[in-house]
Symmetry: C3
Subunit: 265 residues, 3 copies
């Protein structure tokens, strides 16, 4: 299908361009995100100091902002880097980790989401929390946090912010407020490895650097990670081996496997 | 034996309840602790900012405080989170990493140990350092740091603080100042992987969330980790593969293996 | 050859002495550096707070300073630790990660390089950036960043600072400004794992603790890591399994394999 070819083209473009992906991310996943970006073919950098984030944002091809282990100094750096990326027309992606868990976290996530991210990726709970905090999306969203409710909220939130919004889970949904696409790749064992959502966000950053349509870039990144997770699960005996094989699988993805196994709709 | 069944019950309770374990821990082990908690069946979160630790402590079922890479801002957050956990009656466990190595570290460890942890887990040197710094335990503790001396100090320190104290090593000892229990599981190769002690502390946090007796919770966590380490060592060719197989083994532990191989006394 | 025997002697000395290596390093590689040091046979510690770095530098046998994720508070701690190590006659090694990428990073790298490191290790781009910023080395260094240009710059920079300078890449070059040695071990797949350069620097720290000649210590550390990477690549299916097998290989290196496969000149 055309979709499969587009996924392959995005991966090939990452491998060829080796885009520099600037990450301001959480302590838990810095190593695993860097390794996943390298395995995909991108060039990762973790730079968070206010003294240098703006200058580094100028060098990078995309910016990833993840609030997993936030604190005020880091939030200040995130805002500086985001402002510079937006001013330079470079895409950035927001991972609102734990939005809804504490007021501080929700406030920071909401503030950042208003700063013109190309993409926001979260789980159903995080996206619902962000959407509820905004006026338009509040209505009609119930508290069950079902995928459908999250998808409605995601669509409303996408319209409100202008960002593509991804709700990841057993099925990943991606919307720009108008179009909705879904990816059915992935494996349950991935939920037993820390930072898989953060890895998805990092890979979206890499794909944004080479694919101008943020909805396509997001969908392709999720398909590549989900497929690598499936391939890894076939070789893994548990969550420890899964993570190791996942990076091998990302590095080895080829056109034939993508064509045969990516499941988008 | 009854003990084996109790270990299995604790593991089953973690897998069923999936307790939210709040970690304020060191940079080195954030990823590996999160993965071990996920492999056991718990739900880990790393949250350290003073802006949100209290609110997050309200959500969590247990708190893990580890001073491995401490600095003043983190210590402030540790104290806030501990106070909230104690006020809410939630158990917390202290890992006094490197107590005795520097005055700052010893002072912070001693201060935290006085704030009513349910459990303190360290190696012989750390527990001896903590115990020596307290008046009651100072007498009679020599400087050889043998397991026996550490055990005496641990017992005195447990009586002084009201905490269960675990001294881990080739044999793990757990005491509430009165009772003493020992776990003989584990493998020498585990000492070649960074953060195994920190992982033990994190798993104790998960077990504290489901088992009301802190001595039992601690002993069960150490048995589960030690057994997983043994199983991993059987498949490992060195410390790299050991860590990977350890998480697989934690996720796969079953009643039969626990009944056959856990060695408590 | 005599060189092979010297490499083996350094490894044996690390395994026997288990030197305490004090790391002030970046968030991305704290876990992987600690594991590589343990696999080699050393005893790693990550300690960065200004409240304790001086006291800890007194305990340690060598100091590793890596600016990968620098910020002002960490730089202050680096300077305190370096001053103490130098005052006590203990060797320290600098990893100027990303020197040249931002002004802040270049300034910090240049400042630290002037504080009498025993060794500076970087890639060609980082060493060229450091060398260009110094008066003597500026002349004659063009912008192509070829290994030859980097080597000339490294030699000049070594003479200027008194440090041994290592430029690592497909071939690793080590110079004290006069002598130049090269190591041909290593594998291309190592470039797909994050923090391999940082790991090299950490292992140099361990070897500096037992081998008084910093040029030999550096060359031996690079040979041991390169050889372990080659052995790991033979068993790996990609970058994920490479990292795991690399630590196994480091822990298992023996005299016979070193004698047969280390390639120095």
């Amino acid at each position: 299908m055309a979709d499969h070819e587009a996924v392959w083209r995005t991966l090939s473009a990452v491998r060829t361009a080796r885009p520099l992906v600037h990450n301001i991310t959480n302590y838990v996943v810095m190593n695993s995100s860097a390794n996943a970006l390298l395995a995909l073919g991108a060039s990762p950098a973790m730079v968070h100091s206010v003294e240098e984030v703006e200058e580094f944002a100028d060098l990078a091809h995309a910016l990833v902002v993840n609030i997993g282990t936030l604190s005020p100094a880091w939030v200040a750096a995130m805002k500086l880097a985001v402002a510079r990326a937006v001013a330079r027309g470079k895409p950035w992606v927001l991972d609102p980790v734990g939005a809804g868990a504490t007021r501080y976290r929700s406030a920071v996530a909401g503030d950042l989401a208003a700063r013109r991210p190309a993409v926001v990726r979260g789980n159903a709970s995080e996206i619902l929390s962000l959407a509820r905090a905004s006026a338009e999306a509040t209505r009609g969203v119930d508290s069950t946090q079902a995928a459908e409710a999250a998808l409605d909220a995601a669509r409303a939130f996408a319209r409100l912010t202008g960002a593509v919004v991804a709700v990841t889970g057993a099925v990943d949904y991606v919307t720009d407020g108008d179009r909705v696409a879904a990816c059915h790749n992935g494996h349950l064992l991935m939920t037993r490895v820390t930072g898989m959502g953060c890895t998805a966000t990092a890979l979206i950053g890499a794909c944004l650097a080479v694919e101008p349509d943020p909805l396509a870039a997001t969908l392709h990144a999720l398909a590549l990670l989900g497929l690598a997770g499936e391939l890894a699960a076939e070789r893994a005996a548990g969550p420890g081996t899964l993570q190791v094989h996942l990076n091998d699988a990302l590095a080895g993805l080829d056109r034939e496997t993508i064509g045969r196994r990516v499941r988008l709709q």
